[in-house]
């Protein structure tokens, strides 16, 4: 999965898609995960990082992660199948 070209994310979590004019606000966890997606990290790498840094079990994280990815895909913020 890849962040769509030209997507701008500020340090405060303001996300702007210049091709649609849509804007969103991310919470700190959203900023961290999108940052990793932007760096090209895989889902396994993101899961490993988050579960090692925070008090969350892998299965619970994955459930929220898929929800989050679905939302990003729905708003066409990321491209790709979201599972690699």
């Amino acid at each position: 999965m890849q962040l769509k070209k030209n997507i701008a994310i500020s340090d405060t979590g303001f996300l702007f898609d210049p091709s649609t004019g849509d804007s969103f606000t991310l919470n700190p966890m959203g900023i961290e995960i999108l940052g990793m997606i932007k760096e090209g990290k895989s889902q396994a790498e993101i899961t490993s990082h988050i579960t090692s840094m925070y008090d969350v079990v892998e299965s619970a994280f994955e459930r929220y992660f898929y929800d989050f990815i679905s939302m990003l895909k729905h708003h066409q913020i990321i491209e790709g199948n979201g599972e690699n």
Partner: protein, 348 residues
């Protein structure tokens, strides 16, 4: 460099909740570094706010509605021109364009330049001609059909499904979910704007718009895409944001080059979930949100004045993405004598 002195007449001073483009166009021209402008406002009503905005409009004259006949309007313009020596006239209402396009030569004879679409361009982009326009210029358009009677709605049942859009020839559009609503909107719009009424296929998606200026030789002088972010109950943008979308720009360049569009225009497009663009309307003038283009780096009103005066107007190559406009209302306090002057003497 010394600024060029120009006197510009502009209509569309109705800066209300469904605003005319006059004031934003004037603001753009006033921002010009090349022109020293005197603005002559042309008002149809005594309460058009622009007439009282003296920091933008130097002098306002009442003019008769185009529906009273083009002779009356032209006679009035001649009288105004004797006082003001107008260099460029910018009509900003769809409903007056026919008259001014037709009068282009007469206006030129008395020293007034315009930069309007040709009659052919104006006619072929009419909502009622949209299917032919789409076919001729290879642009995706929704199915549309002009009708002149409520009973025609029933006859369209094999061509179009509900919901569809019921549109006036100049303004207004409503989405009809059933025959009863379609009849109601037909009557409502035709009472206000006359016939025909256009029945248009409803395309699901996001409405996006482009403001653009063509030089009449197929070249795009400028184009800025925008998405409305806040829409009033009249369907007007109360806020909008510039977009970075090369496909919208490509489509605009295509339409301008193919039609050799002359003057300002607004493309109304629907972007579907499949990322396809449907052209739903071409407004043959600069829209009320044109000042967003100025703010984003393309002073299209100024460029239009240059084209009208035969001065070089270099095409814009860039604009700022993510630039917003947010419209606001503001109560001006005016003295009765001003209202009285405009009402009785027809000038202010």
């Amino acid at each position: 460099m010394e600024k060029i002195k120009v006197t510009i007449a502009a209509s569309g001073l109705n800066n209300i909740d469904s605003p005319g483009p006059g004031i934003p166009v004037i603001r753009g021209i006033r921002d010009s570094k090349d022109f020293d402008v005197r603005i002559v406002g042309l008002a149809y009503e005594n309460l058009e706010p622009g007439a009282y905005m003296h920091e933008l409009v130097d002098k306002t004259y009442k003019v008769p509605y185009p529906s009273e006949g083009s002779d009356a309007l032209m006679e009035r313009l001649k009288v105004i021109n004797e006082q003001e020596h107008i260099d460029v006239l910018i009509p900003n209402f769809d409903s007056e364009l026919y008259t001014f396009i037709k009068a282009e030569n007469t206006l030129r004879d008395i020293g007034i330049q315009t930069f309007l679409p040709t009659m052919k361009q104006f006619e072929e982009r009419h909502k009622s001609n949209l299917p032919e326009f789409g076919k001729k210029y290879q642009v995706k358009v929704p199915f549309s059909k002009p009708i002149s009677s409520v009973s025609d709605i029933e006859k369209l049942k094999d061509d179009i499904e509900y919901p569809f859009v019921v549109k006036g020839k100049f303004y207004d559009a409503y989405i009809a979910q059933n025959k009863e609503q379609a009849s109601m909107y037909f009557n409502r719009i035709s009472a206000k704007w006359g016939l025909p009424i256009i029945i248009q296929e409803f395309i699901k998606g996001t409405e996006v718009n482009v403001v653009a200026l063509g030089d009449g030789n197929g070249r795009t002088i400028g184009a800025v895409p925008m998405r409305k972010q806040y829409i009033t109950d009249k369907g007007k943008a109360w806020g909008g944001i510039t977009l970075d979308d090369s496909r919208m720009l490509d489509l605009t360049h295509h339409i301008i080059s193919q039609t050799r569009w002359r003057g300002g225009m607004e493309l109304e497009l629907i972007r579907t979930d499949k990322n396809e663009f449907y052209l739903i309307e071409i407004n043959p003038r600069l829209p009320a949100w044109v000042y967003l283009a100025v703010g984003a780096g393309q002073n299209l009103p100024e460029a239009l004045v240059k084209l009208a005066l035969g001065l070089p107007a270099n095409p814009f190559t860039n604009y700022e993405t993510g630039k917003l406009f947010i419209r606001y209302s503001y109560d001006m306090i005016c003295n009765l004598d001003e209202f009285m002057k405009l009402s009785t003497k027809g000038e202010l």
